[in-house]
Assembly symmetry: C2
Homo-oligomer: 232 residues x 2
């Protein structure tokens, strides 16, 4: 081991296997809502698009199936699960409990770097949504960045991982709806809640942080539920 030690630091910790990359791509598709609930996904077609054989896609899909982000129907058809209103309510309740808890933990354990990252993410999203013609996909991405900046500040990798899995499930429903009805973005609810959350975390106040995140989540959920586009 007489190599320049600096190289060891640059070395990426995650193995760049094809299956990993396929997983990342599919997960991003789900989180950003570019895959609609009920949409079918062919392994071979996906493999064609990604330019690999079906093997890496199979691995990625089986991971997503394990997380219930995809499901394979008894007819052997892989698709994005269609969520009933009851399931969506359950998911929302769990998200409020867990993401709210993460925000509270963030308020307790955040350091200055976390705070800077959260402020940066909040500013970026505010700027984008105050534009006269906001870039919707970008806004979705910035929203994700803000939320996870908060959750990362809890310094609990396990919590962050759980929330990631929740977003995988919620993404198709929420962001698909947002794409269809972008007016909520202009209403500025999210922007206000984000500011509340940032302030609470800066002030080390766990309960207001929890409430801010809860309001953000339930606000978006209520819009979707009131639209009545969900099954059952």
């Amino acid at each position: 081991m007489n190599l320049p030690a600096a190289l060891n630091l640059v070395e990426p910790l995650d193995r760049q296997t094809l299956g990993e990359r396929a997983y990342a791509q599919l997960a991003d598709l789900l989180m950003s809502g570019r895959l609609a609930p009920g949409e079918k996904l062919s392994l071979r077609a996906a493999a064609d698009v990604l330019g690999v054989s079906i093997m890496p896609v199979r691995e990625a899909v089986s991971r997503l199936v394990a997380d219930r982000a995809l499901e394979v129907a008894p007819n052997r058809a892989v698709r994005v699960p269609v969520m009933t209103a009851a399931q969506f309510r359950d998911l929302t309740k769990v998200r409020i409990a867990i993401e709210g808890h993460a925000a509270a933990e963030a308020a307790l354990h955040r350091n200055e770097d976390d705070l800077a990252a959260i402020a940066r993410a909040e500013a970026a999203m505010r700027d984008e949504s105050e534009k006269s013609k906001p870039d919707l996909p970008r806004a979705v991405e910035l929203n994700k960045t803000f939320h996870f900046a908060v959750y990362e500040a809890s310094h609990s990798p396990i919590l962050v991982e759980i929330i990631r899995a929740l977003w995988l499930k919620a993404g198709p429903v929420i962001n698909l709806d947002l794409r269809a009805n972008p007016e909520r973005l202009a209403k500025g609810d999210a922007i206000r809640f984000h500011a509340d959350v940032r302030r609470a975390i800066a002030a080390r106040e766990p309960d207001p942080a929890r409430r801010g995140v809860a309001a953000d989540i339930s606000g978006a959920a209520e819009v979707i539920l009131s639209r009545g586009g969900l099954a059952d």
Copy 2:
């Protein structure tokens, strides 16, 4: 479809694919602590034991890797992750928060059937652990049964699923330790906490239920941490 309709009800909802069965077997091995942290797992060897080709094992393993219940080292070796003390503390904190929350929800939403299942599970574990020579693997299984009877009473499938994933991570550490040092079982801490939890849920008192589960989890965790067998 002129078959006896009753058969459709018996039909298991989960497709009985070989990969599914391999996953179930490996998951059970992990939860019950029969796979120790750091232990390596060869795909081909496992496939041999299960009597199938490596394909179903690959699917099962990639699911477990997605849940962080297994990890593939940069050397391409699949093994049970070795947990540092810090990681175990994080896991314990998250478990207390989430499983405590589930118990509180159970107190609010349980029905009589849930209550009966919880009481049955509690009695079974109490009987087993009060024996002069308790069957350890059976006690581990009964402990799991009791906890999940509680969590199921929350009537939140998503919450239960998350907790399952947490147990997959905690199983190797906790149950391996229990196998090595069974005296804690005789001490009866768990038995007492279980009774507290059952009573609280029966009385529809969320906070005592949460505290009971939290005490159970942190009690077991402290024993393990004080033993000092964890890395770092």
